[in-house]
């Protein structure tokens, strides 16, 4: 994975010193609370319902075991012994104290981590495919580009006070696991007309209260032109994006109001105006970064592992996990494994300090000391020898981290909701807990097959409910929480927004309503291979309404 050189190191250290000074200037009154706010936000520090929350960046989800151990230490020393994996591959601490935050940032810097630009109206942490670099279906490794964008966007002189936050995602595989159609800018690595490397550039996707699927502004951008072109998009947005209404300030609204063609023209005109001097250096930089992502020291092994096959045959619990949680690796004899952080009845994405240390130790033993955080709030071990999978799983199962539910109905994504978030209109975590308890039976889960439930505690949609196969949005009606259900959302290359099914449900009714939808799906699916999403597409979401409101 990427390692800081002396420049990166000095920039992160300077940032900690700067923030220490800013806290001091807030205390001595030089800075008003209004002035301090964007500064703390750009260091990941939010004011939540009960306390500050610190969001630590995990650039494109990549984490070493030493970094994970440090996160565990921070959880214990400064917080309540746990952290929360987010839908943007970051980790949040819910209980830090303001005066201690500069110390936390120092401790993070000790392991080459930071909380830079994890919040605020700036370019946020770049996200990517959790299987980047190892996925068998990948065209090219997106991580070097993601790192280049991380550096380029860090403390950007021109783009640190944008109309609104700005999120970029990149995928190197035609099978989109980074939700590139739902970001301010989405990049798909594609081959050009002469088989040269480059990107398809998608702009103006997003969720929130006005969900939109991103639109292609460039079919093919040669890779050496990336930074110049991104700069042109950002400048058009910074000049013309709305600042009069924060709900209309995202780039998706600008693209929508200008119209795609006019927006494209503005960007291309700005791009042609710009001298392209920096593109040459960006290419050299990309090549430097790529050396950090050279293939690991893989052993040459047969693709079929006898140890794995025997264990799989003899241990049905392991077989279930292997069927559900493994992902094909580029290299023969290896696999990528997803460790779901979705214990039945638990809080999606919550990891205790003990979990973190277990994961770190296991990553050292089984996956070159590295792991990734996925936007589904899970952990991925990207490089496990197939011979080792059974040992890995046994160790995970011992730590209650061996659930075979990746992509299944209990692999729920939920935002923090009313339990933590000051903007929430309803709770989301207890809803996730109820649903996962209702569907706890692993055999039933497997029978249902791939089904993603995503829950947000308000229309800001941090729980990505618009793109859940089943989406749940928590609202407030006359002081009572109620939940709207959407069906048929899809975050991948076949992107779709879920459609609202009808009136909402109370918090006690939601789990039952979901059970009725699922039972109906099991009745009407066209054989066991037709997934919930496929059935939903074939019949239309309306076909589920009767079941949904049957006993209602």
């Amino acid at each position: 994975m990427y390692r800081y050189d002396e420049f990166d190191e000095s920039m992160v250290r300077a940032r900690v010193a700067e923030f220490r000074g800013q806290v001091q200037r807030r205390v001595d009154g030089s800075l008003t609370e209004d002035e301090f706010k964007p500064l703390r936000l750009m260091n990941g520090l939010y004011l939540q319902l009960h306390a500050y929350m610190l969001r630590v960046a995990i650039p494109y989800g990549a984490l070493s075991s030493d970094q994970m151990r440090q996160l565990a230490m921070i959880a214990e020393r400064y917080d309540r012994g746990y952290g929360h994996l987010t839908t943007r591959q970051n980790i949040q601490y819910n209980w830090p104290k303001l005066p201690e935050v500069p110390d936390i940032l120092d401790d993070l810097a000790d392991v080459q981590m930071h909380a830079i630009q994890t919040s605020g109206n700036c370019i946020r942490n770049v996200t990517s495919d959790p299987f980047a670099g190892v996925a068998a279906d990948e065209l090219e490794d997106p991580r070097p580009t993601a790192e280049l964008i991380r550096q380029w966007s860090t403390f950007h002189p021109e783009f640190s006070f944008l109309p609104r936050k700005f999120k970029i995602a990149i995928t190197g595989s035609p099978n989109d696991r980074a939700a590139v159609y739902f970001h301010d800018i989405g990049l798909r690595m594609v081959a050009g007309p002469d088989d040269d490397a480059g990107y398809e550039v998608i702009v103006g996707g997003g969720q929130g209260r006005t969900p939109m699927i991103g639109k292609v502004v460039r079919d093919f951008l040669p890779r050496e032109e990336l930074l110049g072109y991104l700069e042109a998009i950002m400048r058009v947005y910074n000049l013309y994006g709305r600042r009069d209404n924060k709900y209309k300030a995202r780039i998706k609204i600008l693209v929508h109001e200008l119209g795609l063609e006019a927006f494209k023209d503005e960007v291309e005109a700005e791009y042609s105006r710009k001298p392209d001097a920096d593109n040459a250096l960006a290419e050299a930089e990309l090549q430097r970064i790529e050396t950090y992502f050279a293939p690991k020291d893989y052993e040459t092994r047969p693709d079929r592992s006898e140890i794995f096959e025997v264990a799989r045959h003899n241990d049905p619990a392991f077989a279930a996990w292997a069927d559900q949680n493994l992902f094909s690796h580029k290299v023969e004899g290896y696999a990528a494994a997803t460790i779901t952080i979705k214990r039945v009845g638990g809080e999606p994405g919550d990891v205790t300090a003990d979990d973190m240390r277990t994961l770190a130790d296991l990553a050292d033993r089984f996956s070159f000391g590295e792991m990734r955080v996925s936007h589904e709030q899970n952990i991925v071990f990207s490089d496990v020898r197939k011979d080792d999978l059974y040992d890995l799983w046994k160790a995970l199962a011992k730590a209650e981290l061996g659930d075979a539910n990746k992509g299944l109905i209990t692999d729920i994504i939920a935002c923090p909701g009313l339990d933590y978030c000051a903007l929430a209109t309803a709770r989301s975590i207890p809803i996730a807990q109820k649903i996962s308890t209702a569907f706890a039976d692993p055999i039933r889960q497997r029978d249902i097959g791939p089904l993603s439930i995503k829950i947000s505690g308000c229309i800001n949609a941090c729980g990505h409910h618009h793109v859940g196969h089943i989406g749940i949005l928590g609202l407030d009606k006359a002081g009572e929480e109620f939940y709207q259900i959407t069906l048929g959302g899809d975050a991948t290359e076949t992107a779709a927004l879920g459609e609202r099914a009808g009136p909402g449900f109370s918090s006690d009714e939601v789990a039952g309503a979901i059970e009725r939808v699922v039972d109906h799906y099991l009745d009407v699916r066209d054989g066991e291979d037709e997934t919930f999403l496929e059935t939903c597409r074939r019949l239309g979401p309306d076909a589920f309404k009767e079941a949904l409101y049957a006993a209602h």
Binding site: D5, F7, S10, M11, A14, R15, A17, E18, G21, Q22, R25, G29, S30, L31, T32, E35, P38, L39, N121, Q151, W152, T154, F155, H156, P157, E158, F159, S160, F161, L162, L227, R235, N238, L239, Y240, R243, A269, E270, R273, K274, P275, A277, D278, L281, A282, A284, E285, R288
Partner: protein, 174 residues
């Protein structure tokens, strides 16, 4: 309104004419370097005037309107209605990209931590409101502008950080 250049307060040698100042319609403009409102620029340019001419623009000009300023003035004052409104940074950068070589002034309640950004985008000076300066003494701007040893962005190589990290790395390897 204190004027800050590279972290130190300097004397403002320009006189800013207010929007409703009718001096512009006199036969001859007052002597000295003048900053006139954008909507009065055309008429000001037709008057006799002993001194340099600058313009105070609004912050909603598009790139075409910015280009049209080229060759007409020696100073452009770009407003920041609020410190969180970063549009002025792109206006400055656009003006520099189109080849404007005169003085670029940021006008508004920019905080100290934005000083280096402003310079990198092409601003020469920052004019801040009096009450703002009372809370945030100028030495805070001096400290903040050199808080970072370098920057990642190529082509944003104005002082105080003269070399981008990308080009420093590149030089080290060749």
């Amino acid at each position: 309104m204190p004027l800050i250049r590279k972290g130190v307060t300097v004397e403002d040698e320009w006189t800013t004419l207010a929007s409703d100042d009718d001096t512009i319609f006199d036969e001859e403009l007052p002597a000295g370097d003048l900053i006139v409102p954008h909507r009065r620029l055309a008429s000001a340019r037709q008057r006799k005037h002993d001194g340099k001419l600058g313009v105070a623009i609004d912050n909603d000009l598009d790139i075409g309107a910015l280009e049209a300023l080229l060759g007409t003035v020696d100073l452009i004052s770009v407003p920041f209605p609020a410190f969180g409104d970063g549009r002025g940074f792109s206006i400055a950068k656009s003006l520099r990209n189109t080849g404007f070589t005169g003085v670029l002034r940021a006008h508004g309640p920019l905080i100290a931590d934005q000083a280096a950004f402003a310079e990198a985008c092409g601003f020469d000076e920052i004019e801040i409101p009096d009450d703002h300066a009372e809370r945030q003494p100028v030495d805070q701007y001096a400290t903040a502008r050199t808080a970072f040893p370098a920057r990642y962005q190529e082509a944003y190589d104005a002082a105080p950080q003269t070399v981008s990290i990308l080009s420093a790395r590149h030089t080290a390897r060749h």
